[in-house]
């Protein structure tokens, strides 16, 4: 029994298509397994999962939302970088240009700002959810530690971004923030000099914080997230009642 070939059949049957996509339409269990297992981005998931792990009122999607906000921040951040110059002469003017002249510039900036705040909150709440459901218990001990490091990284990402608009708000917030860091016993002045790159907040500070914000800390976050997600899989998915 041969059914007639539609255009879609001919496309999905072609050598080019089949060299890219190696599963059929996911309406059978087999193809639903293949679509997950044969895609490098989806394969972070297992092909099947315990039913309770899809319950929104257990996770409140907090971990997923944190990751999603990270993606939104990467995308809006890259777009903003095309117009922002980390120089004390041009930074503030860049911000004004982004708000006034760049198409959708103000929207990009707002989305970046509000997701950054949202990510801090979501990561914190995610930590609370994991704690109160006891999800840090063996074999998940080390993933909890990774999670704490991710919380710290999130704080630092948000804080380093705070300086970039180079307005009064950011300048003095960072003055206060680095003064707190500089109060560390013994190492205080070294920490402060490392963070500020000079004896006062200026060009050196701005380019350092910019680099920390746009590449150094995101790379650390990506590294930690890779381990975090990997271990969720290896520990048998998210926790659930025994």
């Amino acid at each position: 029994m041969r059914r007639e070939q539609t255009l879609a059949d001919r496309i999905t049957g072609s050598a080019v298509w089949r060299s890219v996509v190696r599963h059929g339409y996911p309406d059978t269990q087999r193809n639903q397994a293949l679509i997950i297992a044969s895609n490098v981005f989806l394969h972070i998931h297992p092909v099947k999962i315990k039913r309770y792990a899809t319950k929104v009122t257990y996770t409140f999607c907090l971990g997923g939302l944190s990751f999603f906000m990270f993606l939104v921040l990467v995308m809006t951040g890259v777009l903003l970088m095309f117009y922002y110059v980390p120089s004390t002469d041009l930074a503030y003017q860049s911000m004004q240009d982004i708000e006034a002249s760049v198409t959708f510039g103000q929207l990009m900036r707002n989305m970046h700002r509000w997701s950054a705040q949202g990510m801090v909150i979501a990561v914190f709440l995610h930590m609370g959810r994991v704690f109160y459901t006891g999800s840090y218990k063996p074999p998940r001990e080390f993933n909890w530690v990774i999670g704490v490091l991710l919380l710290v990284t999130t704080f630092l990402l948000s804080f380093t971004g705070y300086l970039l608009p180079w307005d009064q708000l950011s300048f003095w917030a960072v003055t206060v923030g680095t003064a707190i860091g500089g109060a560390a016993p013994l190492l205080g002045q070294y920490v402060n000099f490392l963070l500020v790159g000079d004896y006062q907040i200026g060009q050196n500070t701005l380019v350092r914080w910019y680099t920390l914000h746009v590449i150094f800390l995101p790379l650390i976050a990506a590294f930690l997230m890779a381990v975090h997600f990997w271990r969720i899989r290896k520990d048998g998915g998210i926790s659930g009642p025994l």
Binding site: R22, T28, Q29, R30, A33, L34, I36, A37, S38, H45, P46, V47, K48, I49, K50, R51, C61, G64, L65, F68, M69, V72, Y92, E99, L107, R109, N110, M111, W114, G128, F131, T133, G134, Y136, K137, P138, E141, W144, V145, V148, L149, V152, S158, D167, Q168, L169, W172, A173, T175, V176, G177, I180, G181, A183, A184, G188, Q200, S239, G240, L242
Partner: protein, 261 residues
């Protein structure tokens, strides 16, 4: 893929029907990379069950974010000016808890030592509480949830009283710091040891009360401590953002200078 390994061929073959025949043919043609999975009763396929949940929450969240971003603009104040210090100068909101703490004690203690101890303590939780009890249940048990409620109320009261009292005594540790200072003690005594003792005292009273009232397991005691930390973090943040005006004086939120966000 580990799941795939669990399925062994040669188990319980039924007579070959059309679907199976197709599948076998594909296997022969070398297109089969993963075998179909047999679902247990409490399992679902990730595609579509989980992927749909993820996609829907991503879309809902993204729409919310876009609406928020259209309605509310991110702040942009005047050009940075090192010669004009705003009053008050504030850190970003998520660090205002530390800035609040800073008002009451030595800067190194408030800004570095206490947060470091808190983070290390939190990271160490899984190595202290190893029993699998209560995994997957919000708050572990009915008792656990009662402990959360009790700790929340306790911490809110204690924090508020401490901040207001300390403010009333010119941030001199309820006046005790002033007494030690006048007695010629070094800063380490009244700026570091005394505040540490006060904090440890507040934690100790909490632990003693929880112990006395609830007879908790180790897990439940850690719930009390973690809840105390979270509520403290939130309370101090609220004080720092909404109740600190010029000169970091306690002020009602509606009296705050408008330029801060």
């Amino acid at each position: 893929m580990a799941e795939l390994a669990e399925r062994q061929p040669g188990q319980g073959y039924t007579p070959i029907d059309e679907a199976k025949r197709q599948r076998l043919l594909e296997l022969v043609r070398g297109r089969a990379m993963a075998r179909p999975t047999d679902l247990a009763e409490d399992e679902v396929m990730v595609w579509p069950s989980l992927v749909v949940v993820e996609a829907v929450s991503a879309v809902v969240f993204l729409l919310g974010l876009i609406v928020l971003s259209v309605l509310v603009n991110a702040p942009l104040t005047a050009h940075a000016n090192p010669n004009q210090t705003p009053n008050p100068s504030k850190a970003p909101w998520y660090f205002l808890n530390l800035q609040e703490l800073l008002l009451h004690m030595n800067a190194g203690l408030a800004g570095v030592i206490i947060p470091t101890i808190a983070l290390v303590g939190i990271a160490a939780i899984p190595y202290i509480d190893r029993s699998p009890l209560g995994v997957g249940i919000l708050g572990t048990s009915a008792k656990g949830r009662k402990i959360i409620a009790f700790t929340t109320v306790y911490t809110i009261i204690v924090q508020t009283v401490m901040v207001v009292l300390d403010e009333a005594s010119d941030r001199q540790q309820f006046g005790l710091g002033a007494v030690l200072k006048d007695a010629g003690m070094p800063e380490i005594v009244y700026g570091q040891m005394l505040p540490s003792l006060i904090i440890l005292g507040a934690i100790g009273v909490l632990m003693a009360m929880v112990q006395g009232i609830f007879r908790p397991t180790r897990r439940e005691m850690i719930i009390a401590l973690f809840t105390g930390f979270v509520v403290t973090y939130v309370m101090l943040t609220i004080f720092g953002t909404s109740f600190r005006g010029e000169g970091q004086e306690l002020t009602m939120p509606w009296n705050l200078p408008l330029e801060h966000h």
